[in-house]
C-alpha cells in the first residue's frame, strides 16, 4: 500500500547573518555577567580560609590518614536493628530463598545432630564453620540453618571484597547480615566485635578457609573460628557444603543451576587443654569427615576418620592437570555429578 507522506510547512528562516552575530554577542555578554557575579560571590569565602576551608598542612608535618569507614571498619550495627531485621526477613525468605532453591536446590542433612542444642532452654549462639566454594554458600547457609539460629545469624564476609564501598557494604549488611572480617588476620576490633555479637546471642557463619576455593579444591583452615570459639565458649558446628563450586564457583561468569547438599556435623566444644591450632585442626578434620560422609556414607567416613584417611578437602598434593582431573572425578561422586547423569535409554536398534 502506498504511504502518503505528510508535508509540513517549513518555518521561515532569516538569512540575515548580521542579526545572528548580534545575538551571539548578546549571549556572550550575559555569560560574562554571570561569571563575574559568581566570582564576586565566591571571593569572600576564599578569603575566609580555615576553618571554612580545609586546613593547609605545615611543611614537615605528616598528616595522619582519615580513619577508614570501609573494609573491616565498616559499621554494620544498623543491620541488626529491628527495621533492618524485618527487611532482611522479607529478603531472605523471599528472593534469597527462591534464588537458592532455583540455583542450588540444597538437600540438608544432619540437623538431628543439633537436636540437643536446640532443645536447651536457652539455645546457645553457635559458630557455623562450612567449607567455601561459592558466593552461593552464604545463601545456602541462610536457607539451611535451622531455627532458633536462623533468625539471629551473622555472616562473616571478606572485608576487602564485600565492604570496599559504601553501597556494596550496605547491601551485604542489610540483605545477608554480613559482618566484615579480615581474611588473613582477624584484627582486634573485628574479633572483639564478633565476641560481642556471640555474647549477645548472635550466631555466626565463618568460612575458616578465608575465601572461596580458587581451583575447586578446599583450602587449609585458618584459625579465626577456633580462636573465637575458644575465647567465647560458643560451640562450633562443622558444616560441609557440596556442589556449589560447580554451580557458581570462583571464576565463573554466570551460575549454572544444579544440586547441592549441606551436611551438618555434631557441635564441637572448645577444650581447656587444647590450643587454637589443635582446635582448628579438629574442626578441619570434622568438616573433612563430613565431606567424606557426603560423598560416601556415614560408616565409610567414620572408619576413615578413625584411621585418619578421610580424603583431604584440599585435594591431592600434586599440581597441574592431574589435580583438575582428580577434581572432575571427585565432583562426579557428589551432588555435581547428579546433574550430568544421563537418563538411561534403551539403545536404538533401528
Amino acid at each position: 500500500m502506498a504511504r502518503t507522506k505528510l508535508k509540513l510547512p517549513k518555518p521561515a528562516r532569516t538569512p540575515d547573518k548580521l542579526s545572528t552575530v548580534a545575538q551571539l554577542r548578546k549571549v556572550a555578554r550575559i555569560g560574562d555577567a554571570i561569571g563575574s557575579a559568581t566570582q564576586a560571590l565566591l571571593k569572600p569565602t576564599r578569603s575566609l580560609g580555615f576553618p571554612y576551608r580545609k586546613p593547609t598542612a605545615p611543611k614537615g608535618v605528616e598528616v595522619p590518614a582519615e580513619p577508614s569507614k570501609l573494609g573491616a571498619d565498616f559499621d554494620t550495627d544498623f543491620a541488626r536493628k529491628a527495621p533492618a531485621k524485618a527487611l532482611r526477613k522479607i529478603v531472605t525468605q523471599g528472593p534469597v530463598r527462591a534464588l537458592v532453591r532455583a540455583l542450588a536446590d540444597p538437600e540438608v542433612v544432619g540437623l538431628d545432630r543439633l537436636a540437643d542444642l536446640e532443645r536447651m532452654d536457652d539455645p546457645p549462639a553457635v559458630i557455623f564453620a562450612p567449607n567455601h566454594h561459592s558466593h552461593l554458600d552464604t545463601g545456602v547457609m541462610i536457607v539451611a540453618v535451622p531455627e532458633p539460629w536462623k533468625s539471629k545469624l551473622v555472616v562473616a564476609a571478606a572485608a576487602d571484597y564485600f565492604f570496599d564501598s559504601r553501597v556494596k557494604g550496605t547491601i551485604a549488611a542489610l540483605a545477608l547480615n554480613a559482618f566484615p572480617i579480615d581474611r588473613e588476620v582477624t584484627g582486634r576490633k573485628s574479633s572483639d566485635e564478633l565476641r560481642r555479637l556471640l555474647d549477645t546471642g548472635w550466631s555466626l557463619v565463618i568460612y575458616p578457609e578465608g575465601g572461596r576455593s580458587p581451583d575447586g579444591w578446599g583450602q587449609d583452615f585458618k584459625g579465626g573460628a577456633a580462636y573465637l570459639s575458644n575465647r567465647t565458649g560458643a560451640p562450633i558446628v562443622p558444616v560441609f557444603i557440596d556442589g556449589t563450586g560447580s554451580i557458581f564457583g570462583k571464576g565463573m561468569n554466570k551460575p549454572k543451576a544444579g544440586k547441592s547438599k549441606v551436611v551438618f556435623g555434631a557441635p564441637l566444644w572448645p577444650s581447656d587443654d587444647e590450643n587454637t591450632r589443635r582446635y582448628n585442626a579438629r574442626i578441619e578434620a570434622a568438616v573433612t569427615a563430613l565431606g567424606d560422609e557426603a560423598l560416601t556414607d556415614f560408616w565409610t567416613s567414620r572408619r576413615r576418620a578413625a584411621a585418619g584417611t578421610n580424603p583431604k578437602l584440599t585435594g591431592p598434593e600434586y599440581n597441574g592437570w592431574r589435580r583438575q582431573w582428580a577434581l572432575a572425578e571427585h565432583r562426579r561422586l557428589g551432588k555435581a555429578g547428579q546433574r550430568r547423569r544421563q537418563k538411561r535409554r534403551w539403545p536404538d536398534l533401528g
Binding site: D112, A115, F298, W299, T300, A306
Partner: protein, 529 residues
C-alpha cells in the same frame, strides 16, 4: 522438680477425668467417696548431655570390660536393636537407638572393625518399613549399611539362619539368629519403656525363633505370670526367659547390653494436656481438648489415625547403662521404677482404664479388637507390682470404640483369628490346643511375615495370651463405647456410657463398689500394698 505420682480420692469437687477412647478422648465423672485416681509421676529431668552419657556408659560399663576392649580388627560384630514397638508414640528424632548405635560404631571404627551387621530384633513382630528404620536409626546409618546388606531384620522363620544355642534344664530350646550366635560380640541396644522389657528378654525373644518363643509365650506360662512389671519371681514368663538367658550366657556369643530409660514426657504440644492433671488444665488446654474432641468426632477415622500415629513424643532419656545383661537390667529397673512407680493402698472392686489409639503391636496401624483386649488386659491391667489394682473377681471397665477394623497388611492373621478362633472360643488354653498350630504353620502367613510387613501367623494368639492372667483374674470385663457385636465376640460386655457400665458391674460387685482409675498414658506402675 518433677512431682511424684499420687492417688487422688475422688470427691464432689473433682472434675471429670480424662479417658482415652481410641482415636479420641472423653471426660468421665467417677462416683465421689469411693473412687480413686492413680496419677503417674511427672516426667523426670532428662540427661542434658546424652551423647556424653552414652559414651560414659560404653567406656565404664557395669560388670564388663569397656566396649573398646571388646573390639578388635577382623572380628564379627553384630548390633541388634529394639523394633518399632518401642517407644509409643514414636520418639522425636534423633531416636535413642540412633544415638547409641552411632556411638558404638564410632568405637568400632576406631578399633578397625569392618564386619558389622545391624539386625532389627523383631521376634515375631512385623518387619519395619524403610521409613521406620530410617526414623529409628537415622538416615546416616540406614544409608551406610542397608545398601551393603549389613542392615536387615530378624527372620524367625529363616531356618538356614537360625542356630540352636542350647537347652535349659526344663527342656526349653534357645534358638536365635545365626549371625548373632556366631558373632564375637553381640551388642544389644534397648529402649526400656516398661519394666517387663529388657534384660535377657531382649535377645531371647527379639532374635529367637518361633520354636524358642513358644516355650514361654503360651497360655500356661502367661496365666502364671502374676506380675509382668514387678517381681520376676511372680512371672513365669520372666523365669523362663532368664533360664534361656543363662543358656545364652554360658553357650552363646559374648553380649554387651545397652539399655536406656525414658521419662514420661510422651506427648508433644498441643497434646501435652493428656499428661496433665485435670484441675491444672489452663484455658488453652481446655480449648485444645474441646477443639480436638469435637473435630475428631467429625474426622474420618483414617485421617484421625494418621494424625495420632504421626505424633512424635519427646521421650527424653533419663538413664543409659551398659555391660553385663543382668546387672545392667537391675539398674534399668531402678530407673524405670523411679519414673513410673506409685504406691497404692489395697485393691478395689472395679478398675477403669482408657484404651488409647496405639499399643506395641499397631504402630502406624489399626487398633483392632484383639489388640484392644491385649492392651487392656495384657498391658494396662498388668501395670502393677505385688498385686493387681482390682481384686480377684472384680470388674475391669475399658473405654474404646472397638470397631471391627483390621490392617490387612500388618494383621492378616488377626482377621482370621477374629472370625474363626474367637467365634469358637475365647479361652486361651482351648484356642492354643485347637487352633494355634494351624495359624503358626500357615504358609501364606509365613510368607507375609517373611517378605511383607505382617505379624507372624501366631501373633494374635500371643496377643490374646498376653491378657490371659487378666481374663482369669477379672469377674467381668466391660467396654464402654465399643461396637456391641464386636465386644461380645471378645467375650466382654458392651456398655453405652460409664454409668451404664457401673450399673452392669453391680451384678458382680454390688451397688457401692470401690473404683480405681489408672490415669494412663503416661505410664505408671501401681505398687499395690
Amino acid at each position: 522438680m518433677a512431682r511424684p505420682g499420687f492417688v487422688l480420692e475422688v470427691d464432689k469437687s473433682t472434675p471429670p477425668l480424662l479417658f482415652w477412647r481410641g482415636e479420641g478422648f472423653s471426660l468421665e465423672k467417677l462416683p465421689a467417696g469411693r473412687s480413686r485416681v492413680i496419677y503417674p509421676p511427672e516426667p523426670l529431668e532428662a540427661i542434658k548431655d546424652v551423647d556424653g552419657a552414652i559414651l560414659e556408659a560404653l567406656l565404664n560399663p557395669i560388670d564388663s570390660e569397656p566396649l573398646p576392649a571388646l573390639l578388635f580388627p577382623g572380628m564379627k560384630l553384630t548390633i541388634a536393636f529394639d523394633d518399632v514397638s518401642l517407644p509409643l508414640p514414636k520418639m522425636e528424632r534423633p531416636d535413642n537407638r540412633q544415638r547409641v548405635i552411632e556411638a558404638v560404631l564410632d568405637l568400632a571404627a576406631a578399633a578397625g572393625v569392618d564386619d558389622v551387621h545391624l539386625i532389627a530384633a523383631l521376634g515375631l513382630h512385623r518387619r519395619m518399613h524403610e521409613y521406620e528404620l530410617r526414623h529409628a536409626l537415622g538416615d546416616r546409618i540406614y544409608d551406610a549399611f542397608h545398601g551393603r546388606g549389613q542392615l536387615y531384620q530378624h527372620d524367625a522363620e529363616d531356618l538356614d539362619n537360625l542356630e540352636v544355642v542350647g537347652t535349659t534344664d526344663q527342656g526349653e530350646v534357645l534358638e536365635i539368629n545365626k549371625r548373632a550366635a556366631e558373632s564375637d560380640l553381640l551388642v544389644y541396644v534397648n529402649i526400656n519403656s516398661v519394666a517387663m522389657d529388657g534384660g535377657w528378654k531382649s535377645v531371647c525373644t527379639g532374635l529367637a525363633s518361633y520354636r524358642s518363643l513358644s516355650h514361654h509365650h503360651n497360655p500356661t506360662t502367661l496365666e502364671n505370670t502374676k506380675s509382668l512389671m514387678g517381681h520376676r519371681d511372680h512371672s513365669a514368663l520372666h523365669q523362663s526367659v532368664w533360664r534361656l538367658g543363662k543358656v545364652l550366657r554360658d553357650s552363646g556369643p559374648r553380649i554387651f547390653q545397652i539399655e536406656t530409660t525414658l521419662n514420661t514426657d510422651m506427648f508433644p504440644s498441643p497434646f501435652d494436656f493428656i499428661n496433665k492433671r485435670e484441675w491444672e488444665w489452663t484455658a488453652k488446654d481446655r480449648a485444645i481438648y474441646l477443639g480436638t474432641t469435637k473435630s475428631l468426632k467429625r474426622t474420618p477415622i483414617k485421617m484421625a489415625r494418621k494424625i495420632f500415629h504421626g505424633m512424635q513424643g519427646p521421650h527424653r532419656m533419663t538413664s543409659v547403662q551398659a555391660g553385663e545383661t543382668s546387672a545392667v537390667h537391675e539398674v534399668t529397673l531402678q530407673h524405670v521404677y523411679r519414673q513410673q512407680l506409685v504406691e497404692v493402698q489395697g485393691q478395689t472392686d472395679i478398675l477403669t482404664m482408657g484404651i488409647p489409639f496405639v499399643c506395641p503391636y499397631n504402630p502406624d496401624g489399626v487398633m483392632n479388637p484383639v489388640l484392644v483386649m491385649c492392651m487392656g488386659l495384657g498391658y494396662l491391667f498388668n501395670m502393677y507390682r505385688n498385686k493387681p489394682l482390682v481384686r480377684e473377681g472384680g470388674v475391669i471397665i475399658m473405654t474404646h470404640p472397638t470397631y471391627k477394623d483390621f490392617n490387612p497388611v500388618h494383621h492378616p492373621s488377626y482377621i482370621d483369628f477374629y472370625e474363626q478362633v474367637l467365634a469358637d472360643t475365647t479361652n486361651p488354653a482351648e484356642m492354643s490346643r485347637k487352633w494355634e498350630q494351624q495359624f503358626a504353620e500357615d504358609e501364606w502367613y509365613r510368607h507375609l511375615y517373611r517378605t511383607g510387613n505382617a505379624y507372624h501367623g501366631v501373633h494374635p494368639f500371643y496377643a490374646w495370651y498376653w491378657g490371659a492372667h487378666g481374663l482369669q483374674h477379672a469377674g467381668k470385663v466391660i467396654i464402654v463405647g465399643g461396637e456391641p457385636a464386636v465386644v461380645r465376640r471378645l467375650g466382654f460386655t458392651p456398655a453405652s456410657t460409664m454409668d451404664d457400665a457401673f450399673e452392669i458391674a453391680s451384678d458382680v460387685v454390688g451397688r457401692h463398689p470401690t473404683i480405681s482409675h489408672m490415669h494412663v498414658p503416661a505410664l505408671l506402675v501401681a505398687d499395690v500394698k
